[in-house]
């Protein structure tokens, strides 16, 4: 019996101790007409060797690709130590540290994580994680509405990740919150402070400010933050943690800083893994902490005065406050935070900044190589961090397919989410891409685009009249 240790003798003794004749009898409170529960179509058991063979076969069939997609999930080098330590059973198979004295490892790690994350964003407090960046943004919107009190309207620029905007809509729409779109400048690729003029004088709970934005472009965060705060709205920053090693942190935006910062922690040690698990981070000003959702670790002392750590401010949470909690979140993404903490400790401050600079330089080099191909150009003029939108002279889908046939994932096709941009691709080259990788992409792109923009060579027969 897989993972069940009972011997026949154990079973006999246990049934005798309970005073029943069979295990079957233990289910006698279930109405008879309900019992049965045949598992239609459920496959038979596999041993460890068989399931390993099946999974390895499927993994090999999927293969690996040279990846130039970012769009919210970034391929970074993850030091071997990160997951070897994070998957130690003491981290991997523990649960939420409700019994603090038996969970000091997880709790101290959370406290260290909160310290690192607070420094990255330069805000006072952070929580111990939410599900992902998109759902963290939804929680930030809900939090801003709670804190603001008079408005249930939130301004969301179209330069925020389109999937994140969809998630926010799903998670807040049943609470009567209105999301108002803010257009972007089609030349620079970022939100223009002037575009907010039309909202002047209206009451908004918050303005969302992405840095960098979905197009990889840097937003004028100081002006946007000041605009929000001058009008009484909260400023919600959505930020990339790698970029924060290099970019001005949200707590220092504008005159007074952003109020809330959220983002996806995936770049900090989480493998791409087909889309998750990642984690969402959230930070805020100290006076908003009682509106913050999710778990928070805090330092205290034990009965002998020694430093120790507990989950704190639990009166915000669903297991205490029930229908009046700040959120329904319970289980969050603890293990991903363990990995992120170890990840941040390894390269240290200079190392993380070096990763950020390498991503930035690689993406600039990629863009320069790709735009050297005839007819390929950058779509926006604004400065970028580690992603860029390029415009092709031909539709993107067949080009991406031809690249895929060469083992290259050439970027994200923006035709669905931003149809007005033409044949646009969002591309990314992190520090994990080498010079050879960039050259390989550019060579194949030149060949594929060249073939599609010129008449086929075979069509020009010698002597034919043109």
């Amino acid at each position: 019996m897989p993972f069940i240790p009972h011997t026949d003798e154990d079973i006999r003794e246990m049934l005798a101790a309970i005073g029943v004749a069979s295990i079957e009898r233990l289910f006698d409170e279930i109405p008879r007409e309900l019992r049965g529960g045949a598992l239609a179509g459920f496959p038979p058991a596999l041993g460890e060797m068989e399931i390993a063979r099946l999974m390895r076969g499927r993994a090999e069939r999927d293969g690996t690709y040279l990846n130039f997609i970012g769009a919210g999930a970034y391929e970074h080098h993850i030091p071997a130590a990160v997951w070897q330590v994070a998957t130690r059973g003491e981290f991997y198979s523990a649960y939420t540290p409700y019994q603090a004295e038996a969970s000091q490892g997880t709790l101290q790690l959370l406290y260290e994580y909160q310290t690192m994350m607070a420094s990255l964003v330069e805000l006072d407090v952070t929580n111990a994680s939410l599900y992902d960046g998109a759902s963290a943004l939804a929680e930030a919107v809900l939090m801003a509405v709670r804190a603001h009190r008079s408005s249930r309207k939130v301004l969301v620029p179209l330069t925020v990740h389109p999937a994140w905007r969809k998630v926010v809509r799903t998670l807040v729409r049943n609470q009567g919150i209105e999301l108002v779109e803010v257009p972007y400048c089609s030349e620079s690729g970022h939100t223009l402070p002037g575009a907010l003029a039309r909202f002047e004088g209206r009451d908004f709970a918050a303005l969302v400010i992405p840095q960098p934005n979905f197009f990889g472009v840097l937003e004028p965060v100081d002006e946007l933050t000041d605009w929000a705060r001058a009008g009484g709205a909260l400023a919600i920053a959505t930020v990339n943690p790698t970029a924060l090693a290099l970019l001005k942190p949200p707590g220092k935006w504008g005159g007074r800083g952003a109020d809330i910062a959220v983002g996806d922690g995936q770049p900090l040690g989480a493998p791409l893994a087909g889309g998750g698990p990642y984690f969402g981070f959230m930070a805020c000003r100290r006076d908003l902490v009682r509106q913050m959702p999710g778990r928070i670790a805090g330092a205290t002392v034990d009965a002998e005065g020694r430093r120790g750590y507990v989950l704190t401010l639990q009166a915000r949470e669903q297991h205490i406050r029930r229908s009046r909690a700040t959120s329904n979140i319970c289980t969050n993404q603890g293990l991903m935070v363990a990995a992120a903490t170890i990840y941040m400790a390894l390269p240290g401050p200079d190392g993380l900044a070096a990763v950020a600079r390498a991503c930035h330089a690689n993406t600039l080099a990629l863009v320069s190589r790709l735009t050297a191909v005839g007819g390929v150009a950058r779509a926006f003029s604004g400065a970028i961090f580690h992603e860029a939108v390029i415009r092709l002279p031909v539709p993107a889908a067949p080009v991406l397919n031809a690249l895929k046939a060469q083992g290259i994932l050439g970027g994200l096709n923006l035709a669905h989410d931003y149809s007005g941009l033409g044949h646009a691709l969002l591309v990314c080259a992190t520090e994990a891409r080498s010079e050879e990788d960039l050259a390989r992409y550019a060579e194949h792109l030149a060949r594929i685009v060249g073939r599609r923009t010129r008449p086929a060579a075979g069509a020009l027969k010698p002597g034919s009249k043109t």
Binding site: D10, D28, A52, A59, D62, V85, Q99, A163, A245, A354
Partner: protein
């Protein structure tokens, strides 16, 4: 010692960062960071040793019996982790086309099928990233269903008072008001109270069965008829699915929508507080509203279904497709158990709970519902012990830590005073349960003989009892270096 206190200026991990010297040439100066970054400067050995030492301060399933009620802390097979982390799965970008991940999607599709089989539901979405997000999705589907029929006045969700706190919190996030239903003396939903509460405002009832009181809801068929008769829908909180796998399905009990905690029933790791996964299952009438994406199959080709395929969907819950790596771990686990293994889970989880309940009763503990069978968990109440000795459920929990056991869930459900909710799970042996019962018996004797010893526990953990009041009053949520003003 904090990692920051190990830090020494100038210490570098040359192997763990790209070569220096690259400039951030394309970024305008006004966008750049000028504040120092408070990350430790330590060697790789420092970091590995520090976090290994921290891990050793944790109790975990791999190191301790962990009978945390309602959390199903069963063994997490190591192979599930190894196979979910195969290089190709690990490197897969969520934006990669479906045709580059047919093996990956085949696993997820088959997981959906297996979850349908064990729950009896018609369709499943793997999108929710935890149980509470599954609850949100389920209640949002209930709302979308009523709205689609123009049945908007249904603004109320009914929740038994024994329910997890996530139930009322999730209902509120979907814009509902919550009405609590009382529990009777035997742990069942009070049918008269339910009858009095249902009506044209009822959108649905959220129910955990077996309940958080560790008993099977005997009136389930009557409850089903009352709620459905009033036009409401039935929501199944799958927190306790482990107790009934292969014995009875939520679909047969009449539930319209359910969520499943893969990190409980299907053995994916709890990770110190996640990541979990909370897939939702529905019957045919709620299928159009499932959260996105759903894995579809046509002619042996797997594809992620989106807005065009399910235009009435409640939408997306996360940027990508949920906690995919958790889903792969659950897939491996379920394939290893197979159909027969699924049934054995409920059988042995129930055997272990009833055995431990009998042993603790023999040892002198007061079982909260002595006339009932235990499901996969049960409650001991220390109300009388507290009256006699002053020793509380929390004291006993802390004393258990000294004896090498993680504590059961304490003070939940809220309606049983001084309660311990104990869930041994099927992966524990009789010998482990006997050792736990013996430790409990020792603590009971000690509470009568030397209550102060129990009240001052734990004595053997890395720290003694921690001051939670101080933590909440004098908030210290991040370390600050002595010589640096932040």
């Amino acid at each position: 010692m904090l990692i920051f206190e190990l830090s020494r200026p100038g210490r570098r991990n040359a192997a763990q960062a790209p070569a220096a010297g690259v400039e951030a040439s394309g970024i305008p100066a006004r966008c750049l960071r000028t504040q120092p970054l408070l990350l430790p400067e330590v060697s790789e050995l420092d970091a590995v040793r520090h976090y290994t030492a921290l891990s050793q301060k944790n109790y975990s399933i791999d190191t301790h019996f962990y009978p945390l009620g309602s959390c199903t802390m069963k063994y997490n097979p190591r192979v599930c982790n190894e196979l979910a982390m195969l290089p190709q799965f690990r490197a897969r970008h969520p934006g990669a086309p479906d045709d580059t991940g047919q093996g990956f999607l085949a696993c997820l599709f088959e997981l959906q099928e297996m979850l349908k089989s064990v729950t009896g539901m018609t369709q499943v979405s793997l999108a929710p990233m935890a149980g509470a997000q599954g609850e949100f999705a389920g209640v949002a589907m209930i709302r979308a269903y009523h709205d689609s029929r123009g049945d908007a006045p249904r603004g109320e969700i009914l929740v038994p008072d024994a329910a997890h706190g996530t139930n009322p919190a999730s209902a509120v996030m979907c814009g509902y008001t919550v009405r609590e239903i009382a529990t009777d003396a035997d742990g069942n939903v009070e049918v008269a109270a339910l009858k009095a509460a249902v009506g044209p405002r009822t959108a649905g009832l959220m129910l955990t069965n077996p309940s958080t009181l560790g008993v099977f809801e005997r009136h389930i068929l009557e409850i089903r008829d009352i709620v459905h008769g009033a036009g409401g829908l039935l929501y199944y909180d799958g927190a306790n699915l482990n107790a009934i796998l292969g014995r009875v399905t939520p679909a047969d009990m009449g539930f319209d929508v359910i969520h499943i905690n893969l990190h409980k029933t299907f053995s994916t790791p709890h990770g110190g507080g996640g990541p979990g996964a909370g897939p939702v299952g529905v019957n045919a009438r709620l299928a159009p509203f499932l959260p996105l994406p759903v894995v579809g199959r046509a002619k042996d080709e797997y594809r992620l279904l989106g807005e065009r395929d399910l235009p009435l969907s409640i939408g997306r819950l996360g940027a990508h497709l949920g906690n995919a790596g958790v889903l792969l771990r659950a897939y491996v686990y379920m394939r290893m158990l197979g159909a027969r293994g699924m049934q054995r889970v409920a059988d042995f989880a129930t055997l272990n709970a009833n055995y431990l309940m009998a042993e603790l009763a023999k040892a002198g503990f007061e079982v909260a519902f002595p006339r009932r069978r235990a499901s996969h968990e049960f409650i001991v109440t220390l109300k009388h012990l507290k009256e006699k000795t002053g020793v509380t459920a929390m004291d006993v929990a802390k004393r258990l830590l000294d004896k090498g056991f993680h504590a059961p869930t304490t003070y939940f459900p809220l309606l049983v005073p001084e309660c311990l909710l104990i869930e041994p799970t099927e992966t524990e042996s009789k010998q482990t349960l006997d050792a736990f019962a013996a430790a409990m018996k020792e603590i009971l004797e000690e509470a009568r003989r030397d209550p102060q010893r129990v009240k001052s526990a734990p004595h053997a953990t890395p720290v003694r009892r921690l001051d939670e009041v101080k933590a909440a009053r004098e908030l210290d949520l991040a370390w600050r270096p002595v010589n640096r003003e932040r």
